[in-house]
Symmetry: D3
Subunit: 122 residues, 6 copies
């Protein structure tokens, strides 16, 4: 398991900081709302992250897909469930979604590899 | 409560039949796959319909939103939960989603009115 | 067979005229380019209208679909061929295309009815 | 000149109220942010409404286009300027924008008719 | 001429295999339907690949464009014809398509270079 | 300050030339129209580039965003104003715009660094 964050996460964090250090109240509030959106409510965060994932997939945004995949993984959504989310995204969004599905599965493979204990014999 | 189906449902049913009576195997299989997609699996139909709803909302398709709203309603997704699905769709998809949100809430009001017993005093 | 144009075609023609009577050179040139685009070239108009149809379908624009359906019909693209264009649009664009497919088939039915001789016994 | 609001504005207002009477904080905050977004800042409201108009046009949302057209009209954006905004939307978004452009010009004609004094001889 | 597949094709093939080795029937059937879609029917595969190309271009998916460009090239669609497909995609989809058009032409240049005999004097 | 163009600009220029050296009149005219679109008219080029920027942002095209950012920067649109354009794009287009916003701010940082005199002590 690698001990450095993938470059995507580093870039994401650095540029989010750059955006928020600028004094634009609407953008700051939007970012706050975006975090608030996935918190516990009538639906639990797990379901909401699943909703965020399928929405990102049909809108075909790789970075958003990766973000929600990471969140889903941390909240215990398993591979069978993730593939059924992919399935809904694929049927709703069509074959144009496939390249994003490939990159999502590739990212998921990386996440799952990182989740394995470093001295695993697999 | 009205005893006739709304015109949207009638049109939908009639034209689906028109499409499927044509001898096009790919289209027929796609329609079958679309039904299969929301059946019990690693995720239950309720969750899958919620995924279908948010995907339809961010892709801004009123007819698809109405269809999944109807399914969600029948599977017991309540108004609080529906509004949190709307919330995810709105934050992910932006203010461009608002006109579709208005029509979704209007349709939901109609569904809930139809669900009331005919001799209700409300 | 009706002897008056459907309201869609009338609105389309009236508003195109309204747009072009305004003195905006870029818009006028765009409209001219749009007509030129489907003329005979390395590809024939029939193939180009088929391309326009599938592009309109995956971008989910009913008016554009209707326009290219009319053109395809006049250039002799038959129902079997049209359904294979729909098939490509459906697979590429996903189930979100289905409501537009329903309206396309409904419009096609209207076109074909108008094409029949008025004293047909069908 | 008609003394009743067009049905679009009535529906918009009624359903916005329906949405906001529901106790969903994220949606309420989004609506507040949406209003705040177009207020005076480094850019004036007039420029911001023009930005909102072109964004709505390329995303092909008629209701959003109508809303920003109304705002632009009230802030004194004239027909020549509006057509140049349409021009940018048309070139960026392509011919798929044309049906929305037709409806926008139709709506603009209605706005301008309503702006005329009631006893105008035109 | 290079004797190794470009990295895009290698990644595509590897991840498609990863997706299909997972036991998800809907996704597997979708992939099968996607292949079936472009086979001989009322329209020939050449026309269908052209339809797939223009649909991919207006939906702005580089990987899909590259895939259908490769298929079109193998089915004998020549550069004049490809540019007319690009032309339809550009007019329908607008200037937002241009970056994808640049990458498509770059990919086409690479395909055509690979098609040349290795001891060509060009 | 670097004396070589960034690779994006080089690729853009080389492929635009490749596209235009092909004898396709519609594509050539479209490119000409695209340039003409942002010239002085009822609106000044500065406003038009701002419109082009927000349209590119909500349509989520990084290359288009970079192009209009460069133009805006050269026409004196300052960082406060740019962030308000971003703000409109973000509210209209939703959180799906955020990854593009990050890349836009990163590109803007690069532009502003290049604008600084080479012996600046910052």
């Amino acid at each position: 398991m690698s001990d450095h964050k993938p470059s995507f996460a580093v870039f994401r964090q650095r540029l989010n900081a750059r955006i928020l250090e600028h004094d634009n109240l609407v953008i700051k509030r939007f970012f706050a709302l975006d975090s608030q959106c996935y918190r516990e409510g009538a639906l639990d965060p797990r379901t909401k992250e699943m909703l965020g994932l399928v929405a990102s997939l049909v809108l075909r945004c790789d970075d958003c897909v990766n973000h929600h995949l990471t969140q889903c993984d941390q909240l215990g959504v398993n591979r069978e469930e993730l593939f059924e989310i992919f399935q809904v995204g694929l049927v709703v969004g069509g074959s144009i979604v496939i390249p994003h599905l490939r990159r999502a599965v590739n990212f998921l493979d990386q996440i799952e590899q990182q989740n394995q204990p470093p001295n695993s014999t697999d």
